[in-house]
Symmetry: C2
Subunit: 326 residues, 2 copies
Amino acid sequence: MLRRKRIIAGIDLGGTSMQVLIVDQRNNILAEAKAPTRRAKKPLGVVADIAKAVEEAMTNAGLKRSDLTAASIGAPGPVDRDRGIVHEAPNLGWFEFPLGPALAKRLRVPVVLENDVNAGTLGEHVLGAGVGASNLIGIFVGTGIGGGLIINSKLYEGSHGGAGEIGHMLIVLDGPLCGCGHRGCVEAVASRTAMERDVRAAIKSGRKSCVLELMKRRNKTRMTSSVINAALKRKDPVMREVMERAQRYLGILVANVVNLLDPECVVIGGGLAGRLGELYVGPIREYAHEHFFREKDVKRVRIVPGKLADNAGAFGAVVVARRRLR
Amino acid sequence: MLRRKRIIAGIDLGGTSMQVLIVDQRNNILAEAKAPTRRAKKPLGVVADIAKAVEEAMTNAGLKRSDLTAASIGAPGPVDRDRGIVHEAPNLGWFEFPLGPALAKRLRVPVVLENDVNAGTLGEHVLGAGVGASNLIGIFVGTGIGGGLIINSKLYEGSHGGAGEIGHMLIVLDGPLCGCGHRGCVEAVASRTAMERDVRAAIKSGRKSCVLELMKRRNKTRMTSSVINAALKRKDPVMREVMERAQRYLGILVANVVNLLDPECVVIGGGLAGRLGELYVGPIREYAHEHFFREKDVKRVRIVPGKLADNAGAFGAVVVARRRLR
């Protein structure tokens, strides 16, 4: 009987932490679990941690391990869906790792694999801010910037499974160096990492800012979304300036892809959008409107923050699993 | 009997001239005709000219007017496919003109309407340089820059019929003013119009160039593809510099859309690619490779000049008609 409920564990595997959701057939979240991603460990150690988090969440949901129908992972990098391989996950130091089979062996259920941003986009499309849109663009801003595309109501993965690298579209000619080795990518000028670099440079050049103090007080070594939020609330001038520049770049990015793809909806997801919501997305929307080619798009293209916050990737992974295992 | 052959007139309606192809069911070109687009005339006058060109081509093909099954037009602007309306064609000075019904009345056959660049992309996909690609990007460079997208082997028109405005993606922050009113669009830095502006500015600033002389000798008021070709053959330094800059911008544009859409093929069409071929597309390809996010794409994404030259739009219009009238 319970088996019929098709309980699926959706996992969003990030570079610093993993999020697990136990979801039933009607998309009710029965339980969740969060655990750090200990990337210093070998890949199989991380797999053991994932299995443990899934088991813990199942217990919290009042279910036995045998009640689990399948697990599905959103992984931070390009994946081979058929063979369950993570081609490359720079944040984890993984290269060609068979995550799917390894986790399937531990959990003894089928395991489905998808890129985390594609999963997040699908999550927002099926259950979040993008419900009903037949063409949708997901943009997830965090330490990096990733994108996902829904075309004709389906996840579009491209000819070689690599579509959606929106963060590596060039936006500033000869601009700052990006993690990918190129210059001027959107990720290199508008991600949280880029913003932190710019804030630190401004402080180093002698400008006053409360950001470093806020980080120290929160015991953070990085400029997290909560630090950014606190600095903006204090009207920190450096933070405001850096934020506005990032929003302008993201607005132009949004306009570029809207001009190209003519979608109904653009969902801005990730930590910053989750924490700041309209405060973050509002100015991005205004900059985008300034660069729309079609006047009419101002009224008919929705640019909205994601609704599922940290759950988008794990929820999307569940949706992927349900479709693939059908 | 002849009626069964499904003779279709494909028309590419440009701002300066129109190209008509008479095509049979097996995609043989039975005849063609070219005529100037006399845009000083009223829209119905242009419609009469189109009808005349179609009739002339039918005669050249040894066919009677009654042998014509349908006509199909690629129009220079966004269109309403269902009602046969050209929403806006700045090059013709048209606004909400019912081109489809007007031509249908004259030719007494069904008339199908599509945007010219979409038609050109479809032409190259079905019969030209992009045969077999399930995901393909068409980029047409001329007085402007237009784009067309084939996604999952079908023309992708977006949620509101406006997809493919690749020429109005911003590539130079605060760059030169574009015809659309924004700054730094690809069209404003890499179209033939932008190149002519840059060549004229260089000459005005005192640099030596043979371009104006070549134009005069050919009786051209504009820097046409043949003028560009002749100037490059003479190794005109201004022309070479301006061309290389335009190629760099186009290379970055290609990389941006490849990074986003992960296609198998990018077809560069339009007058310059038709005239210069590999001389034009080669450097664009090299610049694109420099900006690819996925190393592997260098080997697996083809970047090629169009094969159908001036016939792409008219041929594509025929393909559109055949699909819609099926």
